[in-house]
């Protein structure tokens, strides 16, 4: 987690300005995933585990080619295999590389109460800083893509870093480097979006996919991982990709406004009590004790 080479523009649970915000000009990065040319080879899964030095773990056989049911704290990149029957009765695999979407408006970061446990760099990468993580797992509930995963022995949450350590040194993420078909690409957000739009147009006009489109959901401000899908109207088919990902209002309006206002209103009870004492005085047991008078005999 190279905070030295990447500037932080947004920090979770942080009061005041973010030290790195706006000090450097940096391009927003983006991972491009064309699911139509993915062959499901899982080279990206292996590259992810290798580069991040994660311990290997048992796979789960579930009558599919999928390595395991969902990503894990030590398995950040998973190809979701979905068998799909087209309208004409023919069969197709829908394979989608599932990992953190690096939202422009990250629900995990919004939900996190710990200062600096989740940060967003100027280049758009959302990264967890485990040394600041308190293990509350609010991020799990704040993420619309079910990405952050809790490790119950370290009591920390982990997820894809978009290889922020590699990107900080000018390299592409490990998954991109390993992809043999070129369905994964890495570059600036603008370039990747333009490429994705062009590819979707090609699919619509020349390949018989009239509904092809780019998945870059505006409900989370766009993402720094974008998909080209055969059918943009049904993203759920691709292993439950939400068509309209939402951050719970709990971590947006409630956390930002209702919580501080509610606390201030509640703490208002203290000055009310104080001024009640000043204005009305105490309720003495009756009749009150006689006040000590002057001594009857001068000393």
């Amino acid at each position: 987690m190279p905070t030295g080479t990447l500037q932080i523009r947004l920090s979770s649970g942080h009061v005041g300005s973010t030290p790195g915000a706006g000090v450097q000009r940096e391009e927003e990065v983006c991972k491009y995933i064309d699911v139509t040319t993915c062959i499901g080879c899982k080279a990206c899964e292996v590259a992810c585990v290798e580069w991040n030095d994660m311990p290997f773990q048992q796979t789960t056989f579930d009558n599919t080619y999928q390595t395991m049911p969902s990503t894990a704290w030590n398995y950040w990149n998973l190809i979701k295999f979905n068998e799909h029957t087209r309208d004409d009765g023919t069969f197709t695999w829908l394979m989608r590389k599932d990992q953190c979407m690096h939202c422009e408006d990250p629900g995990c970061l919004r939900a996190c109460p710990a200062d600096g446990a989740i940060v967003q760099y100027t280049n758009g990468i959302v990264d967890f800083q485990q040394e600041n993580c308190i293990g509350c797992q609010y991020c799990v509930s704040g993420c619309p893509f079910d990405i952050p995963k809790f490790n119950s022995s370290t009591k920390k949450v982990y997820k894809c870093t978009l290889c922020s350590d590699r990107v900080g040194q000018g390299l592409e993420p490990a998954c991109i480097k390993s992809c043999p078909t070129g369905c994964l690409k890495f570059g600036t957000k603008a370039d990747m979006r333009a490429l994705a739009d062009k590819r979707a147009q090609q699919l619509r006009e020349h390949s018989g996919f009239p509904n092809a489109g780019v998945y870059d959901p505006p409900t989370v401000g766009g993402t720094h991982v974008i998909y080209v899908l055969h059918d943009i109207t049904k993203p759920e088919l691709y292993g439950g990709l939400p068509s309209s990902p939402q951050i719970p209002v709990t971590y947006t309006a409630w956390k930002r406004f209702a919580k501080p206002i509610g606390l201030l209103l509640t703490l208002f009870a203290a000055p009310v009590a104080f001024f009640h004492y000043v204005m009305e005085g105490p309720k003495e047991p009756q009749p009150p004790l006689p006040k000590p008078g002057p001594p009857s005999v001068p000393q």
Binding site: Q137, T250, Y251, G262, E280, Q286
Partner: protein, 247 residues
């Protein structure tokens, strides 16, 4: 109260009472026996710990101020549910202990109608019908019961989010906050009423006794019940003699 709950209440009371005593001086009445005091301060301590550790995580504005009290953020997160569980267990004993005197009656509705008189200290004595607890104390007690239940129901999914899922945790988060604010407001008023606002009240929960003057002033029906005397009459006699001695 179910027979089982009554058994727990009896057993806890017997255990604590065997190791404590209350000294009642002349002109004093026994207000809270040893058991009530021990239980009260047990959950009071857990309450304050849960309050501080909870508000540490409540807002970024409080995070850096309060988490060091518990050894940092992760430790605060780890301890908070256990403090809260301690509170719930100790407070459950108090619910059993106080179920009878905290029962809502028609007199309590009357008392609430005259709340303005109470708040403005307009009358020196409480109305004749006010028993062991007034309606304000009962409202606070039942508000704590409700918010403690809300805390527990919403706290468990927040403790084990993987078991309950994203949506339930997100809803629990809001309700947990509402319960916290409800309790905090009540707690501030409770401390004020129990100390500065009503001289002589704090010792009821520490030494366990109150002055007779205090009893006929704040809880006349209770005074009548325990002494068999007329609270108003005793007050007027004390007033005439110009001192605080009970007859």
């Amino acid at each position: 109260m179910t027979p089982q709950a009554a058994r727990i209440d009896r057993a806890a009371r017997r255990t604590v009472t065997a190791h404590g005593q209350t000294i009642v001086h002349e002109n004093e009445l026994l207000r809270h026996p040893v058991y009530t005091r021990v239980v009260h301060w047990s959950y009071a301590i857990f309450f304050v710990l849960a309050l501080l550790s909870g508000f540490a995580i409540y807002s970024p504005w409080l995070f850096h101020g309060l988490t060091p009290l518990f050894g940092g953020g992760p430790m605060t997160r780890l301890l908070h549910p256990w403090f809260s569980l301690g509170f719930v267990v100790a407070f459950a004993l108090q619910i059993l202990n106080w179920l009878a005197p905290m029962t809502w009656t028609s007199d309590d509705r009357r008392w609430l109608k005259g709340l303005k008189t109470y708040v403005t200290n307009a009358e020196p004595l409480e109305p004749e019908y006010v028993g062991f607890f007034n309606a304000g104390q009962k409202v606070y007690f039942w508000a704590i019961v409700v918010s403690a239940a809300l805390f527990l129901i919403t706290g468990i999914p927040m403790w084990f989010p993987a078991t309950f899922g994203r949506l339930i945790v997100a809803i629990s988060y809001v309700l947990h906050d509402v319960a916290a604010l409800l309790m905090l407001a009540g707690f501030i008023i409770h401390i004020y009423e129990g100390t500065a606002q009503q001289p002589g009240t704090f010792q009821a929960m520490t030494r366990g006794t109150v002055e007779k003057r205090w009893a006929w002033t704040h809880h006349p029906a209770w005074y009548r019940a325990v002494t068999g005397r007329d609270p108003r009459g005793d007050y007027e006699r004390a007033l005439q003699r110009g001192n605080n001695r009970a007859p």
